[in-house]
């Protein structure tokens, strides 16, 4: 099964061969490296930019204005912050021009902790991104979703921010992407560039016959059904929650678990129906906790579903600190880990109504 990195790579290949993607670019995106996480290896429309994030977002915006389809990469979201006003401009292009122009671009960037990336390779961007209206924001946590969300992002006529949980980049999927060979080795041999520099210089990817698979933007994934409590997350914490929920189900506690997948416009209808039914909800993400996107979901829960709640709603998020320390003893307490999540999930169902 493909990893998320391989899945995105295959989606980009599908994009450049079937969806008129003209440019895939960013720092180290083109050969010889093919991306810091190998996401852009073997592509024909990929190229290396100067190390200039503002230039990258500006270039993408101009390509969008020229009617091209492009995918730009910011190598780590920690380096996207000096582009905020350019992201705002991309997001307000249609609105400010009263619908005259649109901005059909994709910006992808790895987010979050989990690789001991220290202060500048561990940041989250979901709450920041949600504060830039005019963008659609997606974040997959499985390979099949990574593929399907990328295809949807490419064909969307609006700017789409595609956040990649970097801790999951090498995680293997459990579902085959349409056209993907069943054997890991076979896929690796086809689309992974050799490490040896000499071999890589002449290497060309041999792409499987991929097929289209669109995951609609705005639709959450109902990961598992249950009545005990609702748990909503996305990104790195998603497989951890699924694993805990599966284990606790064996002990008779059935959680209703959602992978949000789209941060904006998010699937409120699905969350609302679940929270109304269970009366108990936990939101989990790893961005810093003040002005956190989960806080917004808490607000809607309190304002709109208050009388359906049996117990207080909960948010488990990253600690409000300036960075994530590289030492495991620091990182582990800075962002939600399996033990923190399980504790919150258990307290949620055991709190007296």
């Amino acid at each position: 099964m493909a990893s998320i990195a391989q899945a995105i790579r295959m989606a980009l290949h599908y994009g450049e061969t079937h969806l008129e993607v003209s440019d895939i670019f960013g720092e180290d995106v083109g050969p010889p490296l093919g991306g810091a996480f190998t996401v852009t290896q073997g592509l024909t429309k990929s190229w290396n930019s100067p190390l200039d994030e503002r230039g990258i977002i500006g270039m993408a915006s101009g390509l969008g204005l020229a009617g091209k389809r492009c995918v730009a990469e910011i190598q780590f979201c920690d380096y996207i912050f000096n582009t905020i006003d350019l992201l705002k401009l991309a997001g307000n292009t249609a609105w400010c021009s009263n619908g005259e122009f649109n901005m059909p671009i994709v910006v992808m960037t790895p987010v979050g902790s989990g690789i001991h990336g220290s202060v500048y390779h561990s940041h989250s961007f979901d709450a920041w991104a949600a504060r830039i209206p005019g963008w659609k924001i997606v974040i997959p946590s499985t390979s099949l979703d990574a593929y399907g969300l990328m295809l949807s992002a490419i064909v969307d006529p609006n700017p789409v921010m595609y956040l990649i949980p970097k801790a999951l980049m090498r995680t293997k999927g459990e579902e085959l992407i349409p056209g993907e060979p069943a054997s890991d080795k076979e896929l690796r041999d086809l689309i992974d560039a050799p490490v040896d520099a000499k071999a890589r210089a002449t290497w060309k990817a041999r792409w499987p016959a991929l097929k289209e698979h669109y995951v609609p933007i705005g639709k959450a994934k109902h990961v598992r059904q249950g009545n005990a409590a609702t748990v909503v997350s996305y990104g790195r914490t998603m497989p951890i929650i699924t694993q805990i929920a599966n284990r606790l189900a064996d002990q008779g506690i059935d959680y209703d678990v959602f992978d949000l997948r789209t941060i904006y416009p998010y699937d409120w209808e699905a969350l609302k129906a679940s929270i109304e039914r269970t009366g108990r909800v936990l939101f989990v993400n790893e961005d810093t906790e003040v002005a956190n996107f989960g806080e917004h979901l808490m607000r809607r829960t309190c304002e709109e579903l208050f009388y359906s709640l049996k117990v207080r709603p909960r948010l488990l998020a990253g600690k409000q600190i300036p960075g994530i320390g590289i030492s495991p003893s620091l990182e582990d307490v800075s962002v939600p880990q399996a033990n923190h999540i399980e504790k919150e999930m258990l307290e949620l169902v055991h709190e007296p109504a």
Partner: protein, 349 residues
Amino acid sequence: MAAKQLTKEKLREIHSLMVEGRILEERLIKMNKAGEGYFWIGGPGEEAFAVPFGMLVHKGQGIQSDFLHLHYRASATVLAMGGNSIDAIRQMRSVSTDPYSGGRNFVNHYAIKRWNIVPVFSCIEPQYLQALGTAHAQREKGCKGITVVTGGDAGTAEGDFASALVWSSRPAGISPMLMIVTNNRFGISTPWDGQHGEKNVADRGKAFGIQTVIANGNDVFEAWDALETAMEYVRKERKPYLLELSVSRLYGHSSASGAPRWNEPDCIELFEEKLIKQKVMTKEECQAVHDKMLTKITEAYKQVQLEPFPDPTSIYDHVWSKEDGNNGRDTFAEQMGVDFTHNPPQAHH
């Protein structure tokens, strides 16, 4: 065609557009002072460059035509391309008929897709970065269109201008991009002298092997020749070019400084002196153009006063592309947003 070969008719047309642009801007300033618009920013004093620029553009839609990334002093350029002065008045009064932003943005913030005039914004430098993208698209084989980006001298300080020099000249991506810096020697209220170590902005292009020229933007003939040479170079060579034009700023930065008339060379007066000396027009004919344009702008102003302000419920329109349907309306945001039933909005200033 070199400027000295311009016909009398063409010179008269340039003069007429310059005067229309000036009287339009003066009307916009008056509107602001009368409380009929919240903010004024514009380009009175730049007409000698702005009008020839608009005339020399290969206008149209798509990469085979020129892309324009303008800043907010380009009113006369838009008129010279065929724009209507009434539309700037509409944007000033922020009425729903404002074709550039539907009453959403400051005056002189254009967006005209059919002529590749991409949305103008209030930030003074990111246009150089967006211009890299349209210029990159125009690297396509056989493409005839070029990208032109304009900004002021103070708008070269942030780094986006430097990025434009780096990206447009890099060997892997040499781009057909004309960068025009109009140097009025002020950044809002701050004079050039204390903020610029370089003698000329154009000198910065030389380090990147970019062709650079400095010209007098207050002189129609010199500006025409400089623009024509620059645009032909970029069109033919498919390389970047940096043109610095010295210009006047006749009413200050914006309404924030009260927009009083400044004592700087007036390019229209200078042009009229030449037209009269060359017997292209008489003094009386020049005055007749001023009178005619004053009447035209006044009539347009009166018409706009009768036009409606935007429907308050339209705030959610065009959040998304029209291709999403429903006028690009963000119905999701609308559902959790303003309650128009309990807080009825007022549709007036």
